[in-house]
Symmetry: C2
Amino acid sequence: MKKLINDPQNVVAESVQGFVAAHADLVVAGDNPEELFVSRAGGAVQGKVGLVSGGGSGHEPLHAGFVGVGMLDAAVPGPVFTSPTPDPILAATKAADGGAGVLHIVKNYTGDVLNFETAAELADAEGITVRAVVTDDDVAVQDSLYTAGRRGVAGTVLVEKIAGAAAERGDDLDAVAEIATRVNANARSMGVALTACTVPHAGKPSFDLGEDEIEIGIGIHGEPGRRRIPLASADEITDLLLDPIVEDLGVSSGDQVLLFVNGMGGTPSSELYIVYRHARTQLEAKGATVARSLVGNYITSLEMQGASITVLRLDDELTALYDAPVHTPALRWGL
Amino acid sequence: MKKLINDPQNVVAESVQGFVAAHADLVVAGDNPEELFVSRAGGAVQGKVGLVSGGGSGHEPLHAGFVGVGMLDAAVPGPVFTSPTPDPILAATKAADGGAGVLHIVKNYTGDVLNFETAAELADAEGITVRAVVTDDDVAVQDSLYTAGRRGVAGTVLVEKIAGAAAERGDDLDAVAEIATRVNANARSMGVALTACTVPHAGKPSFDLGEDEIEIGIGIHGEPGRRRIPLASADEITDLLLDPIVEDLGVSSGDQVLLFVNGMGGTPSSELYIVYRHARTQLEAKGATVARSLVGNYITSLEMQGASITVLRLDDELTALYDAPVHTPALRWGL
């Protein structure tokens, strides 16, 4: 295992310390290392719906990289690939509460769903109204190693951006939850792994892939996907990811879509743009218009080589909220 | 070789096609595929000094990712790890010329220096005044596989940002060149490789590194560095990179510095923040103030795992120019 780390047990704590020091104008970390969370510098915005997300670490910049104006109010980084417990989620929820309630954005993994539910009950007992939206945009498999139903993957980034903009403009909790639900309902994703990744405290790769083998439909923790195939061309792989997305979403002529090509952490951006190129051509061939684009490492699996494609069907309101200003460590425009 | 590519010969062309399609609001590619360059959408800004950089591909987002308002006017992506020829550099120079002259920002590699010089002579013959600033911020080695003198590495990103802001505010060619020279003179860098990278048309790794071996002082094409050592902790590696930087730059108490931790392409951002954490602590222990920070993949070596550290000594003018608005595909703030 070759990593730029010290003690594997301290990876998350030290990384968050560096992250908070580098972005002190935007984020702070809670005081209690047993209840680690990251929230906006300056505290909760009074009268604004608070947005909280979180989950296992190892997917950076998700979620802490998206804390800031126009996106999340707080994020809870669990141990690598392991859900945070209810205590830090509760602490983050309290830090994000500006009196208008808090929305939990939860990727559909069994541990995350349970722990966010418990935290929501605890917050409710303290007088904070919490609603949750569970993302499940991954079309690859129905159930998986850690999931009942579909997994929540890269669509989560778009949910956080767009619901964050709705909260920032002053929508109430129900309205922000509706927007988040609408983004999730109109987003579909699928990923591919060229290589496995290694969880620091495990010390060896999470799974084995042959020298010329790739996994189509990989999960963000290396959970099994649809099938393993021999290495193929970028265009062929792009088709294998995009076709199920297009079919499931029912992309049709005249649709306006956002095309998001996400890197898994170890893939050069030049390769992501090669995937983007063919995906865009294929969407346009179906009569869709690629109205917005996002290409880069936004939800990763440590140093895994691979990529995912997400298509979000846009409407005028979602487009305007996507375009709204955002200022976070990992996503920034208009400010 | 596992890569998301089609024909290895088409990697640069297809990647640039995807890049330009994804960022059509910011950049365009020239019409002639034999003279490939990327320039600002909307063309040269009349009366503004034009900034042009370029070099071998494989270091994305450098340089094309930095074309846009407040940074470069044009970038010339050569073949992977191979300098572009004078013809596309000349074409980019003409596209960037708004009548106030053009500054070439050239990383110190023999091929780049020669080809930019030839292009400058050709531009001069066509009536365009060109000045060049050669970056050489890498403290690792004096001469190297492709270089006489020190190599130009991550400091180049800061030269492009800060000189770009000087051009945007209306400085003339001499003044922009002076700013670029000042940034280079106050920047020092050094990198480490944990793994090698594979040039697509070569099909095998550029060099061999043992299972538990890392290379201190690596070049961005995998050129030899100072020495190979067994894998060490992130803090130890950070010291091995930072100490020569601090010594060479003469960082002393009271200095204001920009700390830039750059990923080589295959390293998760969580690890970059662990490096940042310790580097910041060490700089502060010397009495320096880390006034600005940049952490992420900005000048890469394909899928290489590793990182580089750059320290730039700031003055009030450099800080103000660094803070000035920038809107490019890979670096954006204030707009």
